[in-house]
C-alpha cells in the first residue's frame, strides 16, 4: 500500500512528540515564524477581534479554539489579509523571511506571500477548489503562480507526486465534483503544501468529515508539516482534535485570547472559566461516568455553558465572558489583566483551580 511507503519515507511521527517540549523552549530563543502583536479587526467602529497577540515558533503546532463567533476564523483571515472589504485590521503581523508587515501591505505584495510562505486549508473544500479544473492542474497552478516550478511539465509531475503524498494516486485527472469530501480536503491540503510554506493555517479542516476520514486527514496534515518543518496554526472547536495534533493552544472568546498555554497544561488544569466550561461540555466520557451505586437508570447530563455566544458587538465590557460565567462578580465589569506570560497565561478575575475564589 502507498500509505506504508509514505510512513517509511516521512519523518516518524513519534520522534516529533519526543522533541516537542524542546521545541516549545526553542521557540522562545529562535525567531518565531509568525508574530502577531495587537491584532485588532474592526468593522466601522465595532471591534470584532481585539488586541490578539500570538506567535508560532518554527515547526510548532498551535491550536486556536473557541465557539463559532469567537473570532477565530477572522483572526486567520486577518493574518492572511483576506478580510472582506469594509473590515479593517490594525496591529502587526510579521512572518519570518518577509521584510514587511503583512498588515497594511498591498495586495500585490501579499499575493506573493500567500500560498507560498503562508498557506491555508479552509473548512469547505468544495468552495476552495475550482470546479472546472482538473485537480492536478490546480495543484500545479499553485507552484506555477509562485514560480517554484519553472514549467508546466515539471509542475505537473510535482503535483502528481504531491497528490500521491496525500494518498490520492491515479486520480490526478479527476474534477473536484468526482471526489468525496475527504478526498477534496486532501487536494486542498496538497495545494497548501505545494510550496513548502513556513506556516500552514487550517481553519476547521475536518469539521465536515467522518471520524475515520478525519483521522486520516489529521494524520496527513501532521505528516505534511513535519516533513517540511512547517509551523501549523490549527483552528477548530473540537478540543479533542487540538489535543491530538497541537503542542500549544490559545482559547478565544469574544474576539480576545482568554487563555493560552501548552495543550497538556491548559486541558488538565484550565484556569479561565470559559476553557473550563468548554472542556466540561466536550467530555462525553466524564459525563457518562456519573455517580455509581444508584440502581435506577439515571441519565447523565452534559455540563453546559449557559446561554449562547452573543452577536458581535453585544459582548459585555470588562470580562467578555461574564454574562455567561457562573463565577462572575462585580469585579468582572473591569477588564481582567493577563496573568502569566506569553507562553502560559489567562485573563480571568476568578480563575479555576485557585483557592481564593
Amino acid at each position: 500500500m502507498s500509505s506504508q511507503a509514505d510512513r517509511q519515507t516521512s519523518v516518524p511521527v513519534d520522534a516529533v512528540d519526543v522533541v516537542s517540549p524542546a521545541d516549545a523552549e526553542a521557540s522562545e530563543a529562535a525567531p518565531a515564524v509568525l508574530t502577531v502583536r495587537g491584532l485588532t479587526i474592526s468593522v466601522r467602529d465595532l471591534e470584532l477581534v481585539s488586541d490578539v497577540d500570538l506567535s508560532v515558533g518554527p515547526g510548532e503546532r498551535v491550536g486556536l479554539i473557541g465557539e463559532s463567533g469567537s473570532g477565530k476564523s477572522l483572526t486567520a483571515l486577518g493574518i492572511l489579509g483576506l478580510l472582506p472589504e469594509d473590515v479593517t485590521a490594525a496591529g502587526s503581523v510579521r512572518l519570518s523571511g518577509i521584510d514587511h508587515d503583512l498588515i497594511g501591505a498591498g495586495e500585490r505584495r501579499l499575493s506573493r506571500v500567500r500560498g507560498n510562505h503562508l498557506a491555508m486549508v479552509f473548512q469547505e473544500p468544495m468552495t476552495a477548489l475550482n470546479p472546472t479544473m482538473r485537480i492536478a492542474d490546480q495543484v500545479a497552478e499553485a507552484m506555477l503562480v509562485h514560480r517554484t516550478q519553472s514549467n508546466r511539465r515539471t509542475a505537473r509531475a510535482a503535483a502528481v507526486e504531491l497528490l500521491d503524498r496525500v494518498q490520492l494516486t491515479g486520480i490526478a485527472r479527476a474534477y473536484p465534483h468526482q471526489l468525496s469530501g475527504g478526498q477534496r480536503q486532501r487536494v486542498v491540503l496538497a495545494i497548501a503544501l505545494a510550496n513548502d510554506p513556513a506556516l500552514l493555517i487550517c481553519d476547521e479542516p475536518t469539521t465536515a468529515l467522518d471520524v475515520t476520514v478525519q483521522a486520516m486527514v489529521l494524520d496527513l496534515i501532521l505528516r505534511g508539516v513535519t516533513a517540511r518543518d512547517s509551523a501549523l496554526l490549527f483552528i477548530t472547536h473540537d478540543l479533542a482534535v487540538v489535543a491530538t495534533i497541537c503542542q500549544r493552544v490559545l482559547v478565544m472568546y469574544g474576539g480576545r485570547v482568554v487563555e493560552s498555554g501548552p495543550v497538556r497544561e491548559v486541558f488538565t488544569n484550565p484556569r479561565h472559566r470559559y476553557t473550563e466550561g468548554l472542556l466540561a461540555a466536550s467530555d462525553l466520557e466524564a459525563a457518562d461516568s456519573g455517580p455509581v451505586g444508584t440502581s435506577e437508570p439515571v441519565r447523565r447530563r452534559l455540563p453546559t455553558i449557559q446561554g449562547t455566544v452573543p452577536a458581535a458587538g453585544h459582548f459585555p465590557d470588562g470580562c467578555v465572558f461574564r454574562t455567561r460565567c457562573p463565577h462572575a462578580t462585580e469585579v468582572c465589569a473591569e477588564r481582567p489583566p493577563w496573568t502569566g506570560d506569553q507562553t502560559r497565561g489567562f485573563a480571568c478575575h476568578h480563575p479555576a483551580g485557585a483557592d481564593d475564589v
Binding site: R7, V13, D14, D17, E67, S68, G69, S180, G181, D210, V211, T212, V213, Q214, A215, M216, L218, D219, I221, L222, H237, D238, L239, A240, V241, A243, T244, I245, V263, R264, F267, T268, G277, L278, L279, A281, S282, D283, L284, E285, A287, D288, S289, G290, V292, T294, S295, E296, P297, V298, R299, R300, R301, L302, P303, T304, I305, T308, V309
Partner: protein
C-alpha cells in the same frame, strides 16, 4: 464500566412487548443512469438486507460513515422512500406497501429532526408558523398556546415565534426543528445527525434537551450519527452500519468498550478524545485499531 449497564437492557425486557419499529431484511437498490446503450444500467446497493428492532421507549443509535446507508434506512423507516425488498413494521402496521394516504398515523407518530437546521427550516416562514405547520397539515387546530408550549419545552422564549429562522444561531435553529418535530405529539423521534453541525458547548445543550424531552414525553428515540461517542452518550443500544449492512449491534457501552467487528474497532479507534490525546495518541494511532482487541 458497570454504571453503563444500569439501564435495562433490551434482553431483560419482557418479550411480550412488540417492537415499535421492526425492519426485516430490507434492501434498497438505486439504479444509476445508463452509460451505454448495450449494457444494463449499474445498480447501487444502498442497503443489503438490514434487520433491526427498536423497542418502545428505547433510545436506539445508528452509527456509520457517510454513504453507509444510514440515511436511506431512516427514509425507509419514515416511509419517505420504499425498500426494494423486505418489510418495515412501525407501531404494528406494515408500512412497506402502504399508499401515502394511509400513512397518516405514521406522519403523526414519527417525526424527524435533520442535520442541517438551516436548510430544513423555511427561511420565509416565521418560527411560529414553522412549528405549527405539522399540525396544520394534519388538520389539527394550531393554537398559539400549543406553539408557546412547544417553544417553552425547547427552551426558547415566546417572542421567538415572531422571528425568522435566520435570526437564530445554529443551536437555536436546531431547537426550532425539535419543537416542530414534537408538535403533533409523536411517539417516535428520529434524529439524523442533529448535532454534527454544532459547536461543542451547543452540542451539549442540544443533547441534554433531546435527552430530557425523550424522558418527559416518553418517546422512542432513533438517533443517527457518525460519532459513536455522541451516540454512546444518548442511546441505550446501537447498530453499526457499514456498506449497507449492519455489522454489529449491542448496548452502546459494550460496543464502545469492546467492539467485535473490525470496522467498529476502526470506528472506535478513530474517535479523538482528550484523555487519549494527553496520553500521547497521534493521528496515526487514531488510524490503527489497538491490537489484541477481542476477537
Amino acid at each position: 464500566m458497570p454504571e453503563l449497564y444500569r439501564l435495562p437492557r433490551p434482553t431483560d425486557r419482557p418479550p411480550a412487548v412488540d417492537p415499535v419499529i421492526k425492519v426485516t431484511d430490507v434492501t434498497r437498490d438505486y439504479p444509476r443512469p445508463r452509460t451505454s446503450l448495450l449494457k444494463r444500467a449499474e445498480v447501487v446497493h444502498a442497503l443489503r438486507g438490514v434487520s433491526l428492532e427498536v423497542q418502545p421507549g428505547e433510545r436506539f443509535g445508528i452509527v456509520g460513515e457517510s454513504g453507509c446507508g444510514k440515511s436511506t434506512l431512516l427514509r425507509i423507516i419514515a416511509a419517505l422512500d420504499r425498500p426494494t425488498s423486505g418489510r418495515v413494521v412501525v407501531d404494528g402496521t406494515d408500512i412497506t406497501r402502504l399508499p401515502e394516504r394511509r400513512l397518516r398515523f405514521l406522519r403523526e407518530n414519527l417525526q424527524l429532526v435533520f442535520q442541517d437546521p438551516m436548510s430544513s427550516l423555511d427561511p420565509r416562514m416565521r418560527v411560529r408558523d414553522i412549528i405549527a405547520e405539522p399540525l396544520v397539515v394534519q388538520g389539527h387546530p394550531a393554537s398559539g398556546a400549543r406553539v408557546r408550549e412547544l417553544l417553552d419545552a425547547v427552551g426558547l422564549s415566546a417572542d421567538a415565534g415572531d422571528r425568522y429562522p435566520h435570526q437564530f444561531s445554529g443551536g437555536q435553529r436546531q431547537r426550532i426543528s425539535i419543537a416542530r418535530a414534537l408538535a403533533p405529539n409523536p411517539k417516535i423521534l428520529v434524529a439524523d445527525e442533529p448535532v454534527s453541525a454544532l459547536d461543542v458547548s451547543v452540542r451539549a445543550q442540544v443533547l441534554n434537551l433531546i435527552s430530557d424531552l425523550v424522558d418527559e414525553l416518553d418517546l422512542t428515540l432513533v438517533f443517527v450519527s457518525h460519532d459513536l461517542s455522541v451516540v454512546k452518550h444518548v442511546c441505550d443500544r446501537v447498530a453499526v452500519m457499514h456498506a449497507g449492512e449492519i455489522v454489529e449491534t449491542g448496548t452502546t457501552g459494550e460496543v464502545y468498550a469492546a467492539p467485535r467487528h473490525p470496522y467498529t474497532r476502526r470506528l472506535v479507534a478513530a474517535i479523538p478524545t482528550i484523555p487519549k490525546a494527553l496520553a500521547g495518541a497521534t493521528p496515526e494511532d487514531l488510524l490503527t485499531p489497538p491490537k489484541g482487541a477481542p476477537r
